[in-house]
Symmetry: C2
Subunit: 237 residues, 2 copies
Amino acid sequence: MKKYKKTDLESYTLGTTLTLELLNKKANYVKRVYIHSKQEKNETYYKIINICQDKKIDVIFSDKIINTLSDKENCYVIGVFEKYQEELDLNSNHIVLVNPSNMGNLGTIIRSSIGFGIKDLVIIKPGVDIFDPKVIRSSMGAIFNMHFQYFDSFHAYQALTPTREFYPFMLKAKTNLKDITVKGKYSLIFGNEATGLPDSFLNVGVPVIIKHSKSIDSLNLDNAVSIALFEFTKNNF
Amino acid sequence: MKKYKKTDLESYTLGTTLTLELLNKKANYVKRVYIHSKQEKNETYYKIINICQDKKIDVIFSDKIINTLSDKENCYVIGVFEKYQEELDLNSNHIVLVNPSNMGNLGTIIRSSIGFGIKDLVIIKPGVDIFDPKVIRSSMGAIFNMHFQYFDSFHAYQALTPTREFYPFMLKAKTNLKDITVKGKYSLIFGNEATGLPDSFLNVGVPVIIKHSKSIDSLNLDNAVSIALFEFTKNNF
């Protein structure tokens, strides 16, 4: 077993908490669990062992493989799973990321999105690999609650679900986020961390701006997404 | 010159954009600027050279020092500055971070805070070092617009400015962020990334909760701060 590459058919969770989350949510995809000799025999450990026994998942005690796969010193459990596809729910609200490039950001966006009850994520290619262990880690396991689908272009996605409200978030937009009234199903659309959305999105749905002072060029992507999520869902909480 | 340590009296900016921002905002504290032989002679380069000439700041061409200080391959300019203290404005709104531990989060919080017009930051010790080059980089230079002050305890800070509204953000709070009406000067208070605020803050001002689903334990700190900033300042933008 080697360090993760995008072309691999398997990925893995680093650490006990993430691995337990994987086993709780996606046990059917788990191929095996590695455990380091330094792992404490605590409550989480026994939960992991019990699920593995119950689901007939191999548990392998190997310090060597854990040392190979993990950069962190105190990671003593790794769960290996087969990459899966969770189909997008076309009747739900969506987050759409156009060409996201930062793995930490993607993980954090997934965490906030699940937090605010949006469970469907669209990624327009090229975009970062959602199954990279770094994304999984920064999602704190929220990824295992997410449906997601990659599309070759925004048009391909739009054609699949044309009747919803599209809200592209752009610095050139005219409508202030605070003035939006939510109606019907919607997609919140965000561009790349460095470049934002292309100008062509000014012709898509209702372009929205999160207004801020001129002292900064833009907000960090995951902060912008979190603010939008809060505003769009706050009447649900 | 060695890699940054917390006890150093100087810190530095990595890259042309950050160094130009440093020179634009805090030229009086800049001791010298290092330039790598691979640096392109572009517009930003000439701006940096001009400011240095104007302010009589030494410019040193040294590949070796840049290679020592920077982990990234394409960092060709470094600005070294004396650490400074910018006094807190007691008549402004504040962000208060109690024991923040993540440098990337701190930088991003500074960027969002400046974006939404809050220029005063309080850090309750122990807390991450605001002058670490990683914080400076993740702030995208917004740090040079920020006033900030470290305090040994929340009480020491509170004693200095007792008449403002305190809003500690806590999962145990009863008041929903969306129901807050802003009046007077305020401080938005956030706890450590892993542990949040201690329960004692339930007795401070008006504790606030950003409600989310039970599918996640909590929001990422910089996302929570950004949502709060947006809500508290949205009538200004």
